[in-house]
Symmetry: C2
């Protein structure tokens, strides 16, 4: 197909496609004439993947590039590809310094008790420490054990997700699906938790005014 | 305490405190002399709340104001205060248009089957529809039922959260805690799911290279 049809199929405007081609995020088409290239389904698929990483995941262009690179390298194990995606999704902890370091030490020690196999460099460790620090700065006298229930649910969800990948016939597609799943299902989960909170606050507490 | 001590206690710089005072996000201190005001623990607490809303939740100043206003109004039921917070946290769906509307209709119909009491205007409905649309645009032939397991876990987590509020002795503090919990525990949950994914991809799939 020509670039105009690629644009229609993918929903990505032609100038954006040309930008991705220049940035080498998208493979060049097959040249059919000096000024004409032909594209196929792999290009459509790649454009949609870039869209999810950028628009749903909020990744920077550098982040998108790092994930696409990791996906393309067949010698990179899945958990490292996932780490790259998590890093590209991570936001820097708002507050560093001694208080953050103390919270990080505390939450890392608690994560050890879960006996999960996770790298010391995993960016989500910082996010967890930032959440703990925020609670402590609000005057909550809590330790990371307050996240216990969430760890239990996270564990159950992740186990099912990865089991799906492990059983997939087309492993390459499955790896891509996992990265997409990390991003898209995360958004769905956050949305569903907010909706469930609304439901339970309405039904458990009723429409009564606050005291 | 004087403004310099308020700054030390809260970790918020003096110019930022003055900005919040001008913007009326922070109550004025008690005037002890023509050019001097005295602050107390409620000011420290309020500054930390603003910090969480802005830095952990990523809310705009207008969003922070809407949440503080809702918290201050005792005639607003908790589920409406939560809705205000969710709206201030929401990002606009990246893609609107007919495809988005179709996904929204589909995910709304599925939400109906859960029999959750949620308002048609809840902003998280859009987030769920955006997640569904992203999957469909990637060529996944799935309906909103793909989110079933996440709804189950979200329901269990939210039920426990709201039960905590319902049982709290100090209802006013509990409402504030729920809003904070929405934001901080959401971040912790997302971090824990990413860590659990790393753990399960490492242990279920091993450190083996991709095929």
């Amino acid at each position: 197909m020509r670039i105009s049809e690629l644009s229609r199929s993918s929903g990505v405007p032609i100038p954006t496609i040309k930008f991705y081609l220049r940035e080498r995020l998208l493979e060049p088409g097959h040249h059919t004439a000096p000024n004409q290239a032909s594209y196929d389904g792999t290009h459509v698929r790649r454009l949609r993947l870039i869209h999810v990483l950028q628009d749903v995941g909020g990744m920077s262009l550098a982040g998108v590039r790092s994930v696409l690179d990791a996906l393309a390298r067949r010698d990179v194990p899945l958990h490292e590809t996932l780490s790259v995606a998590h890093m590209a999704l991570a936001h820097e902890p708002a507050s560093l310094g001694p208080a953050f370091e103390a919270a990080r030490t505390e939450s890392d020690a608690w994560l050890d008790t879960l006996a999960w196999e996770i790298a010391p460099s995993s960016s989500a460790r910082n996010d967890l420490a930032a959440a703990l620090l925020a609670l402590q700065q609000l005057g909550w006298t809590v330790g990371p054990g307050v996240f216990e229930r969430y760890a239990h649910h996270a564990d159950a969800m992740a186990e099912a997700e990865i089991a799906y990948v492990a059983n997939a016939e087309d492993q390459e597609a499955a790896v891509e699906a996992t990265v997409i799943g990390t991003i898209v299902f995360e958004r769905a989960l956050v949305a569903l938790r907010r909706l469930a909170e609304e439901h339970h606050s309405r039904t458990q507490l009723g429409g009564t005014a606050k005291p």
